[in-house]
């Protein structure tokens, strides 16, 4: 094809918009992190203040729990659902559509609906659990410090596992029939087929989806923010919410920016390590 420079003209508008909305703010965050609210240069003061705040380590550990707890179960449940939906059975199309519902529904709707279902006195969940005697008395799921984070994680798992399922299902359906036939000639059982044919073939999909899930878990703070705003007693405070509250509730833009810089650096390192381990794995470079 001739005149390759024309390509620049096509991609330019989108890149300009993204540059203005991403590159500039990222650079500006760096600047904000070393200035105070009046715009004076204060060196590393903001970083020092943020790091000595009691909420910071709490938020860091909560974030780790939130991300890992969510992702492990999202992937496991998603893959199991994909294997189920990859079977031939009547009504499969309906089940597949229904599975996508939690993912498509607005996060805020999921949050309020679950909050109502988890209501201590009138919530359906406490009723369903106390009825058959699974728990002795109603649990204050959202007010009890030891249950609130696991509950948030559970809601997040419920919200996102359909995405894993649908991506893995697409991968499963693109597996060549030859592989299944070879396995069948060897007399493989169903679970052997899962282990030796399906899982190795969708590994790349799972790996890519996991990366997206990590990023989304860090980005989608709607569920936690809408239900608890980080409370009670910072039990569900994760770093993105801490940034948000520092900026818009305490109006400490400099400290929020300093926290953003650190958060961003850690996120980049995690993503980078993840991609590097993938690239160094010969199986993945096909």
């Amino acid at each position: 094809m001739q005149k390759q420079s024309t390509g620049y003209l096509f991609v330019l508008p989108a890149l300009m918009v993204l540059g203005m909305l991403i590159a500039y703010p990222v650079a500006y965050t760096g600047l904000l992190s070393v200035t105070d609210n009046a715009g004076n240069y204060v060196g590393l003061d903001n970083f020092r203040r943020v790091l000595s705040a009691r909420a910071t380590p709490t938020a860091f550990w909560n974030t780790l729990w939130w991300v890992f707890g969510s992702i492990v179960f999202q992937v496991i449940l998603g893959v199991l659902t994909a294997i189920l939906l990859n079977q031939n059975f009547r009504g499969r199309a309906v089940v597949r559509s229904v599975t996508l519902v939690p993912w498509v529904v607005p996060g805020i709707v999921a949050a309020t609906t679950w909050a109502w279902m988890l209501h201590t006195e009138f919530g359906i969940i406490n009723y369903m659990l106390t009825g058959p005697g699974l728990i002795d008395e109603p649990v204050g799921w959202l007010t009890n410090g030891s249950t609130v984070l696991p509950v948030m994680i559970a809601i997040n798992i419920w919200k996102m596992f359909p995405f894993v399922a649908i991506m893995v299902l697409a991968g499963l359906q693109s597996i060549s029939n030859d592989l299944y036939e070879a396995a069948r000639i060897d007399g493989a059982s169903f679970w052997e087929e899962v282990r030796y044919v399906m899982l190795p073939q969708v590994r790349t999909v799972i790996v890519a989806v996991t990366l997206l899930l990590v990023i989304w878990a860090l980005n989608h703070i709607t569920i936690i923010y809408a239900i608890t705003r980080g409370g009670p007693a910072n039990r569900t405070l994760i770093t993105p919410i801490q940034i948000f509250r520092t900026a818009f509730e305490s109006v400490q833009f400099g400290q929020a920016a300093a926290l953003s810089v650190m958060f961003f650096a850690v996120a980049i390192v995690v993503v980078f390590i993840y991609i590097r381990t993938l690239a160094s794995n010969p199986e993945e470079t096909r």
């Binding site: 990222v26 189920l84 607005p106 359909p162 770093t239």
Partner: protein
């Protein structure tokens, strides 16, 4: 070949498929069923122990509160304007960018392509503060345009990704023939490539619309005036304003979910196809 086809493909036993499917459907749908049910209960029925599974006399009272005594209708309109606006803008930008990436080889293309994807990898919380400052400088805080622009960050990267892989799958020979006949690049794009990629365009549209309709955090930061607030913010306000009125909250949730449910269920095949094509063929 015949011999192979006679080999029976092992599968899960029927009872396991049935149980798992029923469980899956229950887990996915029960919250919505409960939401709809709660939205037609009277106040007294909502606050009853044990909970009532089927309201004796379904009431529209909660919907009346939401539709006539709250800001929800106004927020609904705002949501429509902002979602349609940002979907249209994302679509136009993504069409050109994807065509550029799919059909041209230019210096720095891999770098630019990964820059576009970085947008998807960026922790949004980390750029809220500078974005807010940027919008304030541009005088775009509390305007439709502010949110429409900001939503490019979350819709554009994946849209470009999905459309690029879609355009790549359209045979380039069609365009080469047209160019020999004297067609310009833009004519190729609008007369040949676009008509052939309608399913891809539809999936990008659904994706962008649903994402912006559901978006919460940016709206919370950049739309603080009720003239531009979107539905998610309205819903969040509702649950604090009427702290005890769960019936109205559930009715508002239903109102907010309906457009998405209708749009998604009618376009589901296209949407899922487009999304997974982008992921597996990349």
């Amino acid at each position: 070949m015949n011999k192979l086809q006679t080999l029976k493909r092992p599968g899960l036993p029927g009872w396991l498929i049935l149980t798992a499917s029923v469980l899956l459907v229950l887990v996915c749908l029960f919250p919505f069923w409960w939401m709809v049910l709660s939205s037609v209960k009277t106040l007294r029925e909502l606050y009853t122990v044990p909970p009532i599974w089927w309201p004796a006399a379904p009431t529209w009272e909660n919907y009346r509160t939401v539709l006539f005594e709250s800001n929800i209708p106004r927020y609904f309109l705002n949501s429509i304007i902002i979602s349609v606006g940002s979907t249209a803008l994302a679509l136009v930008l993504a069409i050109f960018a994807s065509y550029g990436f799919a059909r041209f080889n230019f210096k720095g293309k891999p770098l630019l392509q990964s820059f576009v994807l970085v947008g998807q990898l960026l922790p949004t919380a980390a750029i809220i503060v500078p974005l807010f400052v940027t919008l304030r400088v541009l005088n775009l805080v509390n305007t439709y345009w502010g949110l429409i622009l900001v939503y490019m960050i979350i819709t554009l990267p994946l849209s470009v990704w999905m459309l690029t892989s879609y355009f790549k799958n359209i045979p380039v020979e069609l365009e080469e023939a047209a160019i020999i006949d004297g067609a310009s690049r833009l004519e190729c794009l609008f007369r040949i490539t676009l008509p052939l990629s309608l399913p891809g365009l539809a999936s990008v549209m659904v994706y962008a619309f649903v994402t912006t309709w559901n978006e919460f955090i940016f709206a919370l930061c950049f739309a603080t005036d009720s003239s531009v607030k979107t539905l998610p913010i309205g819903l969040a306000e509702f649950s604090t304003e009427f702290n005890t009125d769960w019936g109205a909250v559930m009715a508002a949730s239903v109102v907010m979910t309906l457009p998405i449910a209708i749009l998604f269920l009618s376009m589901q095949r296209l949407f899922v196809g487009g999304l997974t094509a982008g992921a597996t063929k990349g």
